[in-house]
Amino acid sequence: MATSRSSTELLEQIEKLSGQTVSDCYQCGCCTSGCPIGEAMDPPPSKAVRLLQLGEAPELLDSDGIWMCASCLVCGTRCPRAVDYARIAEACRVLVLRSKQSRVDPDTVTGPELEEIPQQAFIAAFRKSSV
């Protein structure tokens, strides 16, 4: 588990850091159907919000899905309830990182293609997923 805090405390922190209210979501699934990374994201946005609604914040913080969101903001732009899932995923990542756990260790990122990748990608990736 990412942190030792209770699910209720975690949800409070996620809502505060993201500025979103998870009970606003009525589970229409528009976010998940439009997510360009949706098929690789587990859980996808609508299911992630459902986990929070059901009091399963620790499960979401332990998931792979929150690290797959690249904040393209398609979901929030289309959401009929104005829930911005990218900010919820950001809050979840921040909580994990603040418990001193990196998702990506820069030392493990290797390969010849790294010479070519623009540096904005490295800065963004490590800021989003490393302590």
């Binding site: 850091l17 393209c72 732009t77 990608a121």
Partner: protein
């Protein structure tokens, strides 16, 4: 000639020189000058949306403060820099956010003189120069080249802050291509994510997202793609998401430069993947 303070950002100095060089030279051809801001620093590459994360905003605030001493406008070109600087400026100006805004402004050494209007190069072309004036400067029209304009996510969203264009079906780059004599194609994935920075540790995901974009552009008959983001350009052009029959991915500044008469060696084509020179020659454009 109108001068604008210009923020190039780190990637335009290295991996995306082909975005920057022709932008500066093409600007002079169409009637404005980009004056690089002295001692700029990294914008942070990505906006941090956590409500309490002030440390992540300091870098961009310093750039905005420095820019505010030079004028009331700041021109960007990299979609990521544009997104970060514009969102941080918006955060500083947000009604009800005065306490945080003041803390940030006073934290940096540079005196914050005034709010800065962060303008993307495309906005300068459209709003400040105007399509008609650009059309007059076109000496080598693009011969009806079928171009898909790929905007990606950073330049169009969040729509209420970026105020750039329609977040689902943006048009500004299509309009520019039309002015330059190209034939913009329809395209379903104009503003879909290419996978962005996930390419660093999840190359498979970025590849799959990029493949969908390339396949869709080709399905609509595009012969080439234009973009304004170095990361989109990399993911679409150099990731080899489509193993055969991929199409060239140019920066819009390269096609602008070509159309307003920059020399071949000023277009930075050696930084694109594949054989962009051969492609442009085959279309009679070089």
């Amino acid at each position: 000639m109108t001068k604008y303070t210009y923020y190039p950002g780190c990637t335009l100095y290295t991996k995306a020189r082909n975005l920057d060089i022709c932008a500066r030279k093409a600007a002079e051809k169409v009637g404005f000058e980009l004056v690089e801001m002295p001692s700029w620093n990294c914008c942070g590459a990505i906006y941090n949306a956590a409500s309490d994360d002030l440390a992540a905003q300091v870098g961009p605030v310093r750039n905005l403060a420095k820019a505010s001493q030079l004028g009331d406008k700041l021109v960007t070109l990299c979609a990521a820099c544009h997104n970060v600087l514009k969102r941080v400026q918006n955060r500083l100006d947000q009604p009800g956010n005065e306490v945080e805004s003041e803390r940030l402004k006073t934290f940096v050494d540079e005196k914050y003189e005034r709010p800065v209007k962060v303008l993307h190069y495309l906005e300068v072309l459209k709003q400040e120069i105007g399509w008609d004036n650009i059309k007059e400067k076109v000496t080598k029209p693009l011969g009806g080249l079928k171009v898909a304009s790929y905007y990606g996510c950073l330049i169009v969203r969040p729509k209420e802050v970026l105020e750039f264009d329609d977040p689902e079906n943006p048009q500004v780059m299509d309009d520019l291509m039309r002015v330059l004599g190209a034939a913009p194609t329809r395209f379903d994935f104009k503003a879909e994510c290419c996978g962005g920075y996930l390419v660093v540790n999840r190359r498979d995901v970025a590849k799959s997202a990029s493949k969908k974009i390339l396949d869709n552009a080709k399905a609509w008959g595009a012969e080439a793609i234009v973009t304004t983001c170095p990361l989109c350009q990399y993911n679409l052009d150099k990731l080899r998401a489509v193993t055969d029959g991929s199409i060239p991915v140019f920066y819009f500044t390269q096609l602008l430069g070509l159309a307003v008469g920059l020399a071949q060696d000023e277009l930075g084509l050696e930084h694109n993947a594949g054989d962009p020179v051969g492609f442009l020659k085959s279309k009679g454009l070089l």
